[in-house]
Symmetry: C2
Subunit: 157 residues, 2 copies
DNA sequence: GAGTTTAGTTAGCTTGGCTAAGTAATCAGG
DNA sequence: CCTGATTACTTAGCCAAGCTAACTAAACTC
């Protein structure tokens, strides 16, 4: 029994790796979330703002889908963020049903500061690793990123 | 310029890896969260139940801390879960201020089913990887798990 | 141009978050 | 042991965040 993944051993190993990766992601984000208290924003607002700043989302409906929330909920979240001066929402002149949404400079800098706090904490942890450990994490990142951003709607062919 | 991490290059690389790992974790869980709709439970209830089932948490206060929520909030979440027959809360006979909390069989099986759905989706993604890619992820897991579960309250010595 | 679809909003409800203040049990001195 | 402090949780009452149902308005269809 070697550590090489043979065709037979693969499915069980995949389930095991999936279980561990899932759990690790939960614990990692739970831990980093502590830093968000400093932002003064609620979780849902911070998350919506983050999608607008980093994800390049432009309309209210897109934002609702991205956040897995219904349009009325997002409508109010956006209203709150606009009121707080962190976002702007403008009617699209080409399709006046649509709300074009973007972050203000204030919103962007507030969000960047928050993300910097999270990343800083994680960076400190990574800096403590042995060289081999660090390389292992860095080497897995391309693949983890691909899985993380995979299209959720694919059907098995 | 090699891919080996030298003592000089390390800090910048660590920040880069932290940024990417953070973002990947967010996207991964956002994607897997879609599966939770099938459970019929709200996010906060599912999360609290999960901590009780997997984390071995025993008291209401511990649970509130684990979920980064105030005691009154957890009080109501637990009340709802008890009412739904997914948890039991009993006064500790040795210290009658505390609520000993545990999942019922129904709660445990509901949660296991939900986690199975999430893990199944992730497993399918992992099974599609090339052998080398899979090994890279599996090899990084020990380290990622250690970072994910690190004590959040450590002070730099 | 009448009907349909799409994008958001409004109304009104439940749940989930908080603080402030209360109750009850335990602990620590004197 | 009794008095005061601390701890664990609950109650009350507020606002934010989730939902569905029903509405408005714009854009498509033909």
């Amino acid at each position: 029994m070697t550590s090489q993944a043979g065709a037979r051993a693969r499915p069980a190993q995949a389930a095991d790796v999936a279980t561990r990766l899932h759990s690790a992601a939960i614990h990692l984000l739970r831990r980093l979330r502590i830093e968000d208290q400093a932002s003064g924003l609620s979780g849902p607002r911070l998350s919506a703002l983050s999608v607008v700043v980093f994800g390049g989302v432009t309309t209210l409906g897109d934002l609702a889908r991205a956040e897995q929330v219904r349009p009325p909920t997002m409508s109010r979240l956006v209203a709150g963020l606009v009121h707080a001066g962190l976002m702007e929402a403008v009617r699209d002149p080409d399709d006046r049903r649509v709300q074009r949404i973007r972050a203000t400079a204030k919103g962007r800098s507030l969000l960047e500061a928050g993300r910097a706090r999270r990343v800083r904490r994680l960076t400190r942890d990574l800096e403590r690793l042995a060289a081999g450990e660090f390389t292992a994490v860095a080497g897995a990142l391309d693949v983890i990123e691909r899985i993380a951003r995979a299209n959720p709607n694919h059907t098995t062919p």
